[in-house]
């Protein structure tokens, strides 16, 4: 199967005109006439902050500053910044109105494959706002933050238990940051191996000739299946690895023979997502891990799809050496319109010594944060805690200790579920995806045949062949039906991919309605009702947006003279 480079529009499609304003108003019985204000009932237009605020408005009452002789040297600001302000009621209205232009998981089914848009419990928010967690400085003396360290340590324990791994690095800030962490640990392990075997000396942390020799001798290729998330090859390339693409088999999985064929002396690691982005469990995974390990390489697993397998399979048992866990996917921390996420990385015994600083160790009756790489080896013996064995840290990934606010939310979620509830969540997620599959299989096309999927189900666009409707059109028509579209044009190995992940948060009733809507759309497309799709969305706050125009002459900030 070849990579579907045409599958996803890499240059944005221009918006299609829906006709003149006059046509628009008379375009059908379901389109309301234009209003004088531009508003439509509860759907309100809202200008930019820079158009409603002004330099003299302020929504905060501040005390008068103390008198003092400024100590800013010669650098006191003399020119205005140009920041408009708003009173408090205006601020509330501006941002409430803007919020109303967003789709959200609280408001509706959000079947975005590979993103795990599950319910975000409000208990998590309440717990994260306890002053003992929210109002604690990262550099307070450690004796004043023992509860915070204990929380991180406890969460680390849950993560290693769920994944069956030896250790965990907690500081990565998001999934891609976790990938970076895992791949750095792999690179550090290769260099340390060369150092031990005497091929080259010196640690990567210094720029000595010996370190350069180790870098030169270390393997330089990372194997990445073509169905992988884009972050995988980007991460590998960021730290100097060459990416070798492995083809997927006709059944949508990576076969061990393809991996064996790709392995050579230069292979440093494989980056594999499991369950993969086609929604399938990689059946050869144990053999793939063995082949990789036999070659002296390491197995990085993209943990984006952990939500499918909790209590059903442990990555540690599968032979994984490093895997990031998106707390904002599997463990329900809110996506917030694009972050913040959190991406702790679980590590095998082989990689644990290279985990970055900071990490937490037990020290007497309490907990201690190890913040410096030098001298960390003294903590590298025991396995009292999931983080205790980082003897030879590869460095530091972020200023402080990771996404504490996300840690509290994730632990609150895990404690609520318990081990039994987490397993049930995975089972329900998989059941829901298969129920959607069963509900659509006669009308939609499954690229790899009609067989069970994991927590997400993948369709291609062959069921739309000859209709004049594309995956993009179909997705936009879903918006008119009140749904956030599924992931489109990903994975790249499938033409016009539609990746549907309902998650365990949806009731049978909600799924029945969703299935009915999608069936109705598929029937309409096949019946030639093309305009329903090509002119969609009609009922969203905006019609299709002209992405080509945005990219051709980028306007990335408001400017007074730029208003068109």
């Amino acid at each position: 199967m070849s990579m579907n480079k045409q599958g996803r529009p890499t240059t944005p499609a221009p918006a299609r005109s829906s006709g003149t304003a006059g046509d628009r108003n008379n375009g059908g019985g379901d389109v309301a006439p234009e209003t004088f204000s531009g508003n439509r009932g509860l759907s309100l237009e809202e200008p930019l902050l820079f158009e409603v605020g002004n330099l003299n408005s302020c929504g905060v009452d501040l005390p008068q500053p103390l008198d003092c002789a400024p100590r800013l040297g010669t650098l006191a600001r003399e020119t205005p910044i140009g920041l408009p302000g708003l009173s408090e009621p205006e601020t509330m209205r501006h941002y409430v109105r803007l919020s109303q232009k967003n789709y959200s998981i609280d408001g509706g089914l959000y079947p975005l494959g590979s993103c795990t848009m599950k319910h975000n419990p409000r208990l998590n928010e309440k717990m994260a706002r306890l002053p003992g967690f929210a109002d604690v400085h990262p550099l307070q003396p450690q004796k004043t933050v023992q509860g915070a360290l204990e929380l991180i340590e406890t969460l680390g324990g849950w993560l290693t238990e769920i994944t069956g791994m030896a250790a965990v690095a907690m500081s990565p800030k998001a999934g891609a940051h976790g990938e970076l962490c895992g791949m750095m640990a792999i690179k550090a392990a290769h260099l340390a191996k060369l150092k031990r075997s005497g091929t080259a000396g010196g640690a990567i942390a210094n720029n000595s000739a010996a370190a350069a020799a180790a870098v030169a001798a270390a393997p330089k290729t990372v194997l990445v299946p073509e169905s992988a998330h884009g972050t995988n090859p980007a991460t590998a390339a960021l730290i100097g690895y060459k990416v070798k693409t492995i083809p997927a088999d006709a059944d949508g999985t990576v076969r061990v023979d393809a991996v064996r064929a790709a392995i050579d002396d230069d292979t440093a690691a494989i980056m594999l997502t499991n369950p993969n982005t086609c929604g399938l469990f990689e059946r050869d995974i144990v053999e793939i891990a063995k082949a990789i390990h036999d070659a002296g390489a390491y197995f990085y697993c993209d943990g984006a799809n952990l939500n499918a397998i909790m209590g059903k399979a442990k990555p540690g048992d599968l032979g994984v050496d490093a895997m990031h866990i998106n707390l904002h996917k599997t463990f329900s921390t809110p996506h917030g319109g694009g972050g913040p996420g959190a991406g702790p990385v679980v590590l095998s015994e082989a990689l644990a010594p290279y985990a970055p600083v900071p990490f937490i160790v037990r020290d007497g009756g309490g907990f201690r944060l190890v913040e410096e790489a030098s001298g960390a080896h003294e903590y590298g013996t025991g396995h009292d805690t999931p983080q205790q064995n980082a003897a030879d840290p590869f460095g530091r990934l972020t200023a402080f200790h990771g996404q504490m606010g996300m840690f509290v939310r994730a632990l609150s979620y895990m404690m609520s579920h318990g081990g039994d509830g987490l397993q049930q969540a995975s089972e329900d997620a998989v059941l829901n995806a298969n129920y959607v599959r069963a509900g659509l299989r006669d009308l939609f096309s499954q690229p790899f045949g009609d067989k069970p999927c994991m927590h997400e189900v993948l369709f291609d666009d062959s069921f739309l062949a000859g209709t004049g409707v594309t995956t993009l059109d179909f997705a936009k028509a879903m918006i008119d039906e009140g749904y956030h579209p599924m992931t489109m044009y990903f994975p790249l190995v499938v033409h016009g991919a539609m990746l549907v992940e309902p998650t365990e948060s949806e009731s049978k009733h909600a799924l029945d309605e969703f299935i009915a809507s999608l069936r109705a759309l598929a029937i309409a497309a096949k019946a030639g009702d093309v305009d329903r799709f090509t002119s969609a969305p009609k009922f969203a706050p905006r019609k299709r947006l002209d992405e080509t125009r945005a990219a051709r002459s980028p306007r990335l900030r408001w400017q007074e003279d730029a208003s068109s």
Partner: protein, 454 residues
């Protein structure tokens, strides 16, 4: 389990519809030898009441900054965040929305990102800003890589006044990416000679403003020297409120400005989540990592916003992307934008003045304590003190801070925590003061410090 809507009857009916005899049929692809038998070693499901009790108990083991006078900074600052901010970011539509991949139904997120980008560009004095990074330290690392790409060079020069943890992040990234990062020795008085380090192999010079020790330095000469060698000046701002009182980095010739935006809209949260800021000159925008939001029109000609220039990004470019970054810090950026909208020009400048005045008052008061030297001539809201005991013998800053905790004061960050093993800084403490500190706080600090040093 309260988060799971399916009943056992539902599950049975759904399995029937799927054509599976049991749930295990759906997991048949997992090789038998590695199938897990549940998660029996973890605790069982618990109700909301029990979880709340357990977590509250853990939280109570920490000394929250709210209950004691706090003077801790070094890259994270305790400021007052208006109640409106936290209410608005908890709106379902902001909190539980994904990255705005479908712009027609995410105009709320997109427009606020456009406002955020504009605010950050204005504050830093730059032409464009992106939609946020993870935090200030990772933004700094990405800025250095960006400078390498833009100049096709591989050698960065880092000021000794850069936060040591930021420096460590840059060094780690540089080591692994095969680039060089050369750091000058930390000097609390800022007497380093950066300019002589710049040559025709230098991709960028990285300077923190104000420095980690609090000193404020005019960067115009460094900018000119860098530009003369076709290198870029990267300015790092860890206390963004300072730019309400100080000349912007753009005015001094910066090419890229990165920073930590936590101070506006975001709490301390024991180090995260925070919000990384990144702004640059227009000509560098296609080298920028991260999401960018741009203005366009819809099919009816109405103004709208989309994520744009995505041909820089990993989901399109894969191994040729400018960065592997995907998620940013959306909700923290929203908090930043809402708080800054409430403040506006007037509020931010007044807030900055209050911060500076409170820090001046604190410095004056601490300077009167026997054994305390305030090292800075210039500072914004944070400065460095040297502590000594009877007869002028240096005192260990970490021990002094520990002793202050016992007196109910969070007195600052011992420099030895950031630079362990460096004997020259062992008696130094970074002390920060913001608008939250009162005269009573300052008096309590001075009295406690007097006791500890006596």
């Amino acid at each position: 389990m309260r988060y799971l809507p399916l009943s056992d009857d539902d599950r049975k009916a759904m399995l029937d519809a799927v054509g599976a005899s049991s749930i295990d049929d759906l997991f048949a692809d997992i090789p038998e030898a590695v199938r897990a038998d549940g998660l029996a070693d973890l605790p069982r499901t618990q109700g909301e009441m029990a979880v709340e009790a357990a977590l509250s108990k853990l939280a109570a083991k920490n000394v929250a900054a709210a209950v004691v006078p706090v003077f801790v900074g070094a890259g994270a600052y305790r400021h007052h965040v208006p109640a409106t901010v936290d209410h608005l970011i908890q709106r379902s539509e902001f909190l539980t929305s994904y990255t705005p991949y479908q712009p027609e139904i995410t105009q709320g997120t997109l427009q606020t990102l456009f406002e955020f980008q504009t605010q950050v560009a204005l504050l830093t004095g730059m032409e464009v800003a992106n939609a946020s990074m993870y935090d200030g330290s990772t933004a700094t690392g990405e800025a250095v890589l960006m400078a390498h790409r833009a100049t096709r060079r591989k050698r960065a020069v880092l000021s000794g006044g850069l936060h040591p943890h930021y420096r460590a992040v840059v060094e780690t990234l540089s080591d692994f990416a095969g680039m060089a990062a050369e750091t000058l020795a930390p000097d609390p008085l800022g007497r380093e000679d950066l300019i002589s380090q710049i040559n025709d192999e230098t991709s960028c010079v990285v300077v923190q403003y104000p420095s980690v020790f609090g000193t404020i330095q005019d960067l115009s000469d460094i900018a000119a020297a860098a530009h003369a060698q076709k290198a870029l000046l990267i300015v790092v701002v860890t206390e963004i409120i300072a730019l309400g009182a100080l000349k912007s980095p753009g005015d001094m010739g910066a090419d890229i400005v990165v920073g930590e935006g936590q101070s506006i809209g975001n709490g301390l949260n024991f180090g995260g989540p925070y919000v990384g800021l990144m702004a640059c000159r227009q000509k560098l925008v296609r080298q920028m990592p991260g999401r960018l939001c741009g203005e366009t029109v819809d099919a009816d000609g109405k103004r709208g916003f989309v994520l744009t220039l995505s041909t820089r990004e990993q989901h399109i470019r894969r191994e040729k992307a400018t960065s592997n970054i995907c998620t940013n810090s959306g909700l923290c950026a929203l908090a930043f934008t809402i708080h800054l909208s409430l403040l506006g020009e007037m509020g931010l400048r007044k807030l900055a003045t209050i911060n500076h005045a409170n820090a001046c008052a604190l410095a004056d008061r601490l300077a009167k304590v026997a054994g305390v030297d305030v090292l800075n001539e210039t500072f914004f809201n944070e400065f460095t003190i040297r502590v000594s005991g009877a007869g002028g013998a240096p005192r260990d800053g970490a021990e002094v801070i520990d002793a202050l905790v016992d007196k109910g004061i969070l007195g600052g960050v011992p420099v030895s925590r950031l630079l362990p093993g460096d004997e020259a800084v062992k008696d130094l403490i970074l002390v920060a003061s913001t608008e939250i500190n009162t005269d009573e706080d300052r008096a309590a600090y001075a009295a406690a410090l007097q006791d500890v040093l006596a």
